[in-house]
């Protein structure tokens, strides 16, 4: 069975990759640190479930992913609330007829970037994620960072399909606009 010494050495070895993974998804630094800490505590409590010779970091990722799902589920409003009613991004970007009022610029996001540029992109992305509601962030993270299908997101996070499409649409509109304002036009 996993010893206490093993776990201590895991904190040294694996807390950075876990933090790097989770901060990109939840955005909030204090929350990210809490989730990393909770992951190690959960690992200790479930130490009898860890099979020797299996990949420790992969096991820890599984735990922290569940912690993230729990976090987003807890943040979810009651299903009776109509979601995102107060979000006016549609009214900001489109007129009454559904035409752009702030059209996307002709600048482009190069996908051919060096490490420093990629780090910069991710820093802006993290900043822009703060503009999203928790639910929009949840839809975005599971769709684009975890690569889940819309079906799986709706099922595991218990949201209706129509809710999902509203959330992901608004998340994309906001993120793209924010990245254009802050990163492309800097």
């Amino acid at each position: 069975m996993l010893s206490e010494a093993d776990l201590r050495s895991w904190v040294e070895e694996y807390s950075d990759p876990l933090y790097s993974y989770i901060i990109k998804r939840v955005g909030d630094d204090a929350l990210a640190k809490d989730l990393v800490q909770e992951t190690f505590i959960a690992a200790y409590k479930n130490r009898d479930k860890f099979r020797e010779n299996s990949n420790a970091l992969a096991w820890l990722y599984t735990i922290i992913k569940h912690k993230m799902i729990d976090h987003f589920r807890a943040k979810k409003r009651k299903p009776t609330d109509s979601l995102d009613d107060h979000d006016n991004i549609d009214a900001v970007l489109f007129d009454g007829k559904g035409n752009w009022t702030q059209a996307p610029s002709s600048a482009f996001f190069s996908s051919d970037m060096d490490e420093a540029e990629r780090t910069e992109f991710w820093a802006f992305l993290q900043l822009c994620q703060n503009d999203l509601s928790e639910q929009q962030k949840m839809a975005f993270v599971f769709k684009y960072m975890e690569g889940w299908s819309s079906n799986r997101i709706c099922k595991e996070l218990d949201i209706s399909s129509s809710n999902y499409w509203v959330l992901i649409h608004r998340a994309k509109l906001k993120l793209r606009q924010c990245l254009e304002n802050n990163w492309l036009n800097e």
Partner: protein, 79 residues
């Protein structure tokens, strides 16, 4: 005729094959005629590609790691 607000939404649905052939055709036609929506579409393709390749730059301070160890020890003492 599909407007820009509908088209930007349909782009996402098209990717998951959630559009009827008629809507798909309308979207394709809209993107041919509408430069801003085509830019929106391309920007998102670029962003998606960037999302596939995150840097692993963030790290915790020694102090943060120490506080994790302290909490872990506290948990170990409990049991």
């Amino acid at each position: 005729m599909m407007n820009c607000k509908e088209a930007t939404r349909a782009i996402e649905q098209a990717k998951e094959h959630r559009l009827s052939w008629l809507k798909r055709l309308e979207l394709r036609f809209h993107l041919l005629m509408c430069k801003p929506c085509l830019r929106f579409y391309k920007h998102w393709n670029d962003i998606e590609r960037l999302l596939l390749n995150p840097p692993s730059s963030e790290s915790l301070s020694e102090e943060d790691k120490r506080s994790i160890l302290i909490e872990l020890d506290r948990e170990i003492q409990k049991s």
